[in-house]
Symmetry: C2
Subunit: 343 residues, 2 copies
């Protein structure tokens, strides 16, 4: 059993390596080793006696992910009195929050794959996936109850609430072809960017960085998060299934209107037929292909890339006044990777 | 809009009255007024700017429910230095935990109704319901973050984790005709009883009752919770759709094996055909009717009733050593109501 486990770990790590996670890891420099320590922590925290979800949750941890949010906690904490043990649980908590939302997202999106392996919902069905996500979420609660960071719980709770609102907003906005850039920004700030901002803030606050620094790092996280989500939404059109670990066009098929589509709906010379296809609700596979094509030809992806770059620039500006410690360079590098990734 | 709202409140309250919630309310005596105050608190806590879920969550509060868990918090707190304001948020928190699990339960069970009105999943679809449940759950997190009860968070977190495990265990046990009474007890302790035990414990601890009293009330809650769930499982067979607010035989149809079925699978003279029907997975409506009939004819309901009464007796024994304050009589009365209810 142990050997089989080790083999699976090896396969997952190999796959992660091939997909370029390691490039990010190298940039992370001095926090890379700590991030590896967190892998064991994550496995520990999702462990359970309930056989049904034990291995699937473990596999989800092993299948990788960029661990950008924990990296942000660790990096931000370097701007205060850095102590790994002091921020370790916070770094775990943001990854667990992320993981819980992914599990529930995959139910909603009907996603067969997550990080290149079958999603929890594909493996165990939507019913179990609902409670598996709840279980991981409970662990966040437990982690804070056991930690020394009660004062930070308020910020975490507030963010969680906004993330949920963002997710529901996304459902409300489905198939809405009148969606504006402002609506989109409102949604992705909540759905994605706030967890990045929270991560940076938690790291900085826990290590008692000055208030100005905390706020700068929060802004950095928010801007990076927005850029990250815009790129994610672009990849839904431009990537291929294998890079993405999920089918191309998955968002638009579900009616999720993202930035490239908003652009195409306004400026494409085929905007009317795009509107029509979306309104019909993608009953045929060919509709998805057609919609993806229209968006790609509209220049929507270039537009989205420019907007993402704008937010990366803002992120870099946010941390410009901070002291020139090596970690500042790492944060700048992370922001560059975020826009240039292909998965 | 306000008048329409008030009318809906009136209709819901009338319906609750007709269904017998008020009988319970009368027994609750001196805490009844406080429970009414909590109704406003609950409405406040589930309020949101996101239109899609705003009214449905509010309606779910308005549609009633027995509020047994908050009642337990309030009643238990009388055994210490009673101060309503001190336990108010705790009473809200246990009802919100209950509400979040109901929303997610209804997704899994495909329930069209909850408390006599359309369930969140029926109203908004399963996708939104996943996040609506998460939203309510986040509120629990927020409530604790804002409260003075950090020391109690650990107990809450631990319980939440066990509740999730109980829910997943229920999925694992589906259609398992070899289920034993012990398996069943393991599941319902987690799924239901622990939240009752938590409620009683929170009330007692927050009001600084002696440790022995806290433990007695915890035991009371656990025993009541077990009895409550057994009766709930009986009602799935014996009640009618209208009393129950959901279709009869809903559990067995989903493959949830409860105490009356466990009895029938062992002692019914039609146990083999019951086993066969369950194994087939209820492809026809007539299979559900047949299974319900076999269980009813087996004496499984009488057996379950006896077991429930045993746990009610245990609950009453648990609080026997406590001081003879009026609230002790209320707790004893609650336990009687739990077994004799018809919905």
């Amino acid at each position: 059993m142990f050997i089989l486990d080790m083999y699976i770990v090896y396969l997952f790590r190999l796959k992660a390596l091939m997909r370029g996670d390691i490039v990010l890891r190298q940039i992370l420099g001095e926090i890379e080793e700590e991030l590896l320590t967190l892998e064991d922590d994550l496995t520990y925290w999702v462990d359970t006696n309930i056989e049904l979800i034990r291995q699937p949750l473990k596999d989800m941890i092993l299948s990788g992910g960029k661990r950008l949010r924990p990296a942000m906690v660790l990096a931000a904490s370097r701007f205060g009195n850095y102590d790994f043990e002091n921020v370790r649980q916070l770094a775990v908590s943001v990854e667990l929050i992320h993981m819980a939302t992914l599990i529930h997202d995959d139910i909603i999106d009907d996603s067969p794959l997550r990080r290149g392996i079958p999603s929890i919902q594909a493996r165990l069905g939507k019913d179990v996936a609902v409670f598996a996500g709840d279980f991981v979420f409970c662990k966040v609660f437990e982690l804070f109850a056991l930690s020394e960071h009660f004062s930070l719980l308020r910020i975490v709770a507030k963010t969680l609430h906004l993330i949920c609102e963002g997710e529901i907003k996304q459902r409300e906005d489905l198939f809405n072809t009148n969606l504006t850039f402002k609506d989109y920004l409102y949604r992705i700030r909540r759905k994605t960017a706030m967890l990045f901002a929270l991560s940076a803030e938690l790291g900085a606050r826990a290590s008692k960085a000055p208030e100005r620094t905390v706020r700068a790092l929060h802004r950095y996280g928010m801007n990076i998060g927005i850029a990250f989500q815009i790129v994610d939404d672009m990849l839904d059109f431009s990537s291929n299934d294998d890079q993405l670990g999920k089918p191309v066009g998955a968002d638009i098929r579900e009616g999720v209107i993202t930035l490239p589509t908003i652009y195409a709906l306004k400026y494409s010379n085929q905007k009317n037929s795009l509107k029509e296809i979306i309104a019909k609700g993608f009953t045929h596979e060919s509709d998805v292909i057609k919609a993806v094509e229209i968006v790609k030809n509209s220049g929507g992806l270039d537009y989205a890339k420019r907007i993402a770059e704008k937010y990366v620039y803002r992120a870099q500006q946010s941390i410009a006044p901070l002291p020139d410690i090596p970690m500042k360079k790492v944060l700048a590098d992370i922001s560059t990777i975020v826009v240039n990734r292909n998965r």
